[in-house]
Subunit: 305 residues, 2 copies
């Protein structure tokens, strides 16, 4: 039986760990704190999905205590702003891992993908369109049934197709896509529209549809982003679909702001603005949202909210 | 002794009533509700300014009960979105009043100025740069010592210079300006920068200076507005000065949002966008803020916040 490791005990890490464990894999989750690792070792992880509650047994180790690669497959489910540190640590480890999957939002982590090629046979990117809410260090709710899209960045061995298949079988839909850049850009556009708007207005995803003015703002923002990415009417419909499906959800950016954590504004709107800058295009709505969210992060640090 | 009437029992109405009463005028304040009128008749108005508390006796009448002009001078201190109704009522009254002063923010009330010319010898606009906070229906705090700028729109009699003089003497600085359009536009620019930003970020005026990102956003917004109004470095410095002087204040737009009231976004950013539209200029930051604040108003109505 293959051993699967997940770095990161956030909502995506817990969700993935639960489903992988349900699929029959030996799962180890690498957490930031000893406290969370101890709790998970003691209580397992509780997964809420629809009306069902499942409790799975999962091993947990504090990330800083890893000494060598012990898993065949490693998912990196940490936020983009923690990735640099995680990648450095993994580069220094003894041995190799068969497969690494990067699970970050946005696109600012592309620069780290090459760094693990010498440490892994296969490097993939995973684009998470599932919704997850971490309730406690050991409880996660699957709030939006979506797809985990897997894109191949570098492959030098056997593609672990059986993992995606088994995840899909237990209710965590997974798809393999040829063009990883394209699906990442599509996700970037979705996140670039929904996340900053819901964060600045402090509303659920569904409010972007029900409030005419927010809907108008969403449309303006989408059109602006479309001017530098290759977006179609279908992409716009997909954003609307996602807001529908996750109407009661608070976006990760809003939750991060509310929880006093750093948001992924750099990895999302920051990347969009970088691209625009290289193309010599001015994206005022994105610029304004970027500045506003950065300001709100700073305000939280200062305890001003 | 001249009789002075003030229509509107909000923060500006109460502030003005207190200072006029301190100056020795017979003051009547016309309120929207019987409840506020009764309280003011019973308790007077308490004015807090710096370390001093002053209680003044002021007469109060519910606005809808006015049957004819009883005052020599009438200040209209209602929000712009209530002005249409107030002006219609005044147009239907018997008699005439010597002087009417419009005290609205923004510039969307210009269209109402002519309507009272047949009912008044003098029509003025008052641009309030004082800060005021209404604590209760009978208590007001003078939170920012500024200037009341008086501009002449139409004059057919004696300019009541003694009123401005006596107001200044008791601590409510008042200045007469020749070019009313110019001072209104300057105030519009100030409000157009400070109000929507503080409302969307939900911060005090001072945060626009202390938070680097908010400061950046303020600068971007000012530059955009400057492209259609004739702004100078001096105007920018004045905005900074106002944020300094009123650093602990929450702007009227933020207070309106928090109190579930209609904001003055139409009279401020709406007017700026109208002008831009006529000039064929696109002001994306203003457009985005306008849409956002309108969305927040709607959200409040729906009880969503």
């Amino acid at each position: 039986m293959e051993k699967v490791g997940i770095v990161g005990g956030g909502s995506v890490g817990l969700l993935l760990a639960s489903y992988l464990s349900k699929s029959g894999f030996h799962v180890t989750i690498y957490t930031k704190t000893d406290e969370q690792a101890n709790k998970i070792n003691k209580m397992g992880i509780t997964l809420e999905s629809g009306m069902s509650l499942t409790r799975v047994r999962v091993k947990s180790v504090t990330f800083s205590k890893i000494k060598e690669f012990n898993d065949d497959i490693l998912f990196l489910a940490v936020k983009q702003y923690n990735l640099q540190e995680v990648v450095s640590t993994l580069q220094n480890l003894q041995g190799k891992v068969s497969t690494v999957v990067f699970m970050q939002n946005g696109m600012s982590h592309i620069k780290y993908l090459n760094k693990l090629i010498s440490k892994a046979d296969n490097v993939y990117v995973g684009i998470v369109e599932h919704g997850a809410l971490k309730r406690t260090p050991t409880d996660v709710k699957h709030t939006g049934i979506g797809v985990l899209k897997i894109g191949c960045y570098f492959e030098n061995g056997n593609h672990p197709i059986h993992i995606w298949k088994r995840l899909s079988e237990v209710g965590f839909l997974t798809e393999v896509h040829e063009n990883w850049m394209d699906i990442m850009e599509k996700k970037l556009v979705v996140n670039g529209v929904i996340n900053p708007l819901t964060a600045i207005y402090k509303v659920t995803n569904g409010s972007l549809l029900t409030n005419n003015y927010y809907f108008e703002a969403m449309k303006l923002l989408f059109e602006e982003i479309s001017s530098i990415y290759n977006c179609t009417e279908e992409d716009w419909q997909q954003i609307i679909q996602i807001c529908h499906k996750t109407s009661q959800n608070r976006s990760s950016m809003l939750k991060d702001l509310e929880g006093g954590r750093t948001t992924e504004i750099e990895a999302i709107t920051g990347v969009i603005l970088d691209k625009a800058n290289k193309l010599g295009v001015h994206l005022p709505y994105n610029q304004f949202l970027y500045t506003g969210i950065k300001g709100m992060e700073l305000q939280r640090e200062e305890g001003g909210l």
